[in-house]
Subunit: 339 residues, 4 copies
């Protein structure tokens, strides 16, 4: 098997991470690196660590070349930019895994409210499959366009799916206190991401207004088969990568007397990338650092449950999960090329 | 005014911080530095930064010398050690500010459960005043023994006092998601506090079992005039100092329609060390770093409120607040010597 | 004594540090905060930590107001900007302490080569006294315009002055391997100062081409009474503040048999801000963090000497030293307001 | 090809790193994990990140089992401990790669002086080949016992080999200013490696007395065919992994007029893990992070040269290089399993 992939947006954090993973993938050839119209860039000058491993030029996306050389395209682009590329790529019959938010939210009014731009691609929205393998594996197998989940939603949905899908939670009680390393925000050159602002520091941001809220609520609502509203406060950690979400839920009546930890273990028993911690143990960022795992610890407090989930935001929260989705689409073992 | 102070436990984090603050205090002379029976230590060798500013020997506590030379003693000792010293110091009629947990919790069974040791000093427990100036200033004025609050409880109680004391909160709904720098744990030489374990990492610990829970619940219950139970998850930040607590509460019926931000501003309007953030603004660790401030931001979510409080755990959460208490006990301006 | 000071360039790193120091100075009133023509900024919004301590507007420099309200002006401006302000301030007879590089280098061709701009103020250059108190205290006493030294030069010159001024060093052998926290570079919004680039990272920059080289060489040459050429490699540390310089020199014939450590102790014996470490001890950044000290450790290797100097780049390397110079200019105790 | 490897000392930093690399190596089976006599430890409890990837017990080294199950043993032990194991392993005819210092220094008096213990294994010392592939590849091919180089020596010798071996350097002028992340020191539980001591801090240690000095001098002397003495100051960086060495040398007469950069490029032109930077470029820790590369930048200063080398101390400086050596010993492509 030789999957010929291209990456559009190869010079950002998720592009860099994708390149790193794909260079170690036994069935992949990187056949094209593209940017969004800037001057050509030698990728090993942008990322000196790739010197000698990938000495290729990243240039303006050229659909003719893509049509010839690539089977599958990863879109590692900023939000609201992917939807400019997707229709053209679908037209030339390429498989697409979009790491931006553009195809995750189905309601275009909600999209516009949170991302500040009108959605342009209704056809794509209808075709797109939400790329959370543990929940949507069967749909991903046949997808042409995968909307790779956001980093916060990946951890939140995986942490809540067992209880929410079984009706064991008071759906109005969900509180997600999330903490992320700075790479979660991409490579923005703003004062708030300077070393002098972040190092030794910590704070909340976008308190209960973050753009990942509607994404989490949408897919939890689907799992619950009823409307779920969450409270969500993200915080910026002085680390480069990693997410911890500490989640507080009240149990529903149906949950009384249930073995909560057992439910998690059973729900995820065949999942290669989900690890449930033993009672009294909780995950650290270092446990999942640079891996595609989601580690989950559970504290049953009687009437309520505290769930703590850890992922690497650049891997399971972005590029690792994208490769997991690719593996599923090509029917190769799901863990291929992934830690 | 010249307050002659001694510090027992001068070589720990809170001792170091106390020395730093007191060296800049215009009305204080440091007259004695003591440890708990180890060999004498030159304090400027333990802390080279004090070289030339305080070149004094820290030696075994000598009650005769203390009786002669000191007016007030700061106990900067580990938990369960202070109660060995306090009765002797009270007997020789010294004022005491205890930075340990020994005199905060009045129920000795609860103390034993959380601190693993039987309490030995009932008399001290009865005399001790809880040293949170914003709530207990009048009692502190006349106290002989001040139980200086814990770092997490300081931020939690200050963040919740306005709503809890006015009955505006569902007392069963309080969730405190707390994050602290490593100095909060003192200077323990354990693997978990090695640089290689903490840097680039993040995790929860003592999930809903931390020893500060009963302290928070006790003083919130007093403010509420009814039993308050909280949920509390502390996390370890990869920074040296600073605490952020993100607190989630459901409103009581009495709170409907109230201006929550206004209530906070009014409750703390004369407090020199409490700063309420404007709507939409939330505190960062850097705002309170090395200061005695507690900064509080509020998000009114309709049926619920999110409160975010920031303190420096070594200053307002320990040594700064201890000096604030000293200032109150000596009737000097409360902000003297403090940022 | 009440010194009425103004700060032009109050919103940068050195401005912030100056404000912090001056707020604790017993003889200073901050009478004006100025920027370089941007919109007015409430200083406590720029730096929330100053809320309640300094709630003043920072506005465009207004020379009429300065003439009325200020005795002394600190210029905390980028290089090549100070020389636009200095002549006007000298004309209205203000004392000036310039924290930029504009008046340190006397040779305008050298200045232009390293700072990329023609020098405009020859009169100022002639009047300016180099503000390194340990070497030029007597000149500073009577100065109208003080050129506050650069951070690297401060540590380098203090570390080398005893040996160089006594002719104990082979002047062609001096190698300075310097490491600085990121605040040394000011508040530039460039990719290289993002948290994601600096954290967990380390590298050299401007290898043997840094603009502080001619400054170091000029003042060492004056001390040596002969031309001194150095090798100088600065590195960027993943910390906010602090400089360590590891300096390697070969001894001259005159140094053979001399007690090198004794020479340092004797040279600096009356200096309040210089601390010479005992044999076998070397300074850490934490020893001088947020202080005005320069700590120096010495290793005599027989034919050569290794000297290691530590300063806080924002304090002794910038704002602290500026205040030390102010104290000297006003004949108040040199350590006033300084740690 | 299936190389059956065992690791003695699997729970330290280099053991952890070895496991991580070997799990991704296509021709290796990890057949035994051993410690030095402590209780058995489940390796995925020691390192939760390996949960699901390597769930094996690490137990006391059992030579009978090793004889049966393993072809090659990695000794990831503290210094002076390896020499207890090596003779027994040689006796049962196992290949050995020793990551400790025990077989690097051939002079047992020098060993004893720097490592504080008498050397016990003269036979091993004679058999051991120094495992720096770029210099000793041919000897490594046939070695039974490889002494894997120290981290500082790896970078230093690789940086200096081209000039020293060609006689282009004044051998008495070599100064190595080295900076390392904390993992270089292994997992010692001492105060100096606590987060609170390291974070935001920086300092030199073992100034010109470090135990890697005789190792560097020995192998440089061999390259020079004459005695080389260096000056060497290591520093502790507040990062987990990575080394930068800034090296200053004076040229010999033979070097005048030579193209220094060209000499480096030519010397290393066939080396897969050495990357020479273009003129004016210098390596960062991030360029080599978690890779087996050694990146080298060169500044020709006329009479002298500044060489800056970067490696990852746990990979090229320890476990990665050990795997590179294993690949050579088994005649498989040298880069197999390595980044």
């Amino acid at each position: 098997m030789n999957i010929k992939v291209g990456i559009i947006g190869a010079t950002g954090h998720t592009g860099e991470e994708l390149i790193g993973i794909l260079l170690g993938h036994p069935y992949v050839s990187i056949c094209g690196l593209y940017n969004t119209g800037k001057d050509p860039q030698v990728i090993s000058q942008v990322f000196p660590k790739f010197k000698g491993r990938l000495d290729r030029v990243c240039k303006k996306a050229d659909f003719k070349e893509i049509a010839d050389k690539c089977d599958l395209i990863f879109l590692a682009l900023p939000h609201t930019v992917s939807m400019d590329f997707t229709p053209k790529l679908l037209k030339i019959n390429k498989k697409i895994i979009d790491l931006s938010a553009d195809y995750r939210i189905k309601n275009t009014r909600v999209f516009e409210k949170f991302y500040g731009k009108k959605h342009k691609d209704n056809l794509g929205l209808r075709k797109a499959v939400y790329g959370l393998p543990e929940i949507y594996r069967n749909k991903i197998k046949h997808a042409k366009l995968v909307a790779n989940p956001g980093c916060y939603p990946t951890a939140a949905i995986l942490a809540l799916a067992p209880l929410v899908s079984l009706g064991l939670v008071d759906n109005s009680s969900i509180i997600i206190d999330a903490k992320s390393g700075v790479s979660g925000a991409g490579k923005k050159l703003t004062k708030e991401f300077l070393f002098s602002e972040v190092a030794g520091n910590f704070s909340a941001y976008k308190v209960n207004t973050h753009q990942h809220m509607p994404e989490i609520e949408l897919y939890l609502s689907r799992l619950a088969s009823s409307k779920v509203k969450i409270k969500f406060v993200p915080h910026l950690l002085p680390i480069n990568r990693g997410i911890i979400e500490t989640i507080y839920v009240n149990k529903s009546h149906a949950a009384k007397g249930k073995n909560i930890l057992g439910i998690f273990k059973s729900f995820y028993k065949n999942e290669p990338f989900i690890r449930i911690k033993e009672e009294g143990k909780f995950p650290k960022v270092s446990d999942v650092y640079e891996t595609n795992y989601c580690d989950i610890g559970i504290k049953d407090c009687g009437d309520s449950v505290i769930i703590i989930a850890a992922i690497d935001n650049l891997s399971k929260g972005a590029s690792g999960q994208a490769v997991q989705n690719m593996n599923i689409m090509y029917k190769i073992p799901e863990t291929t090329g992934l830690l």
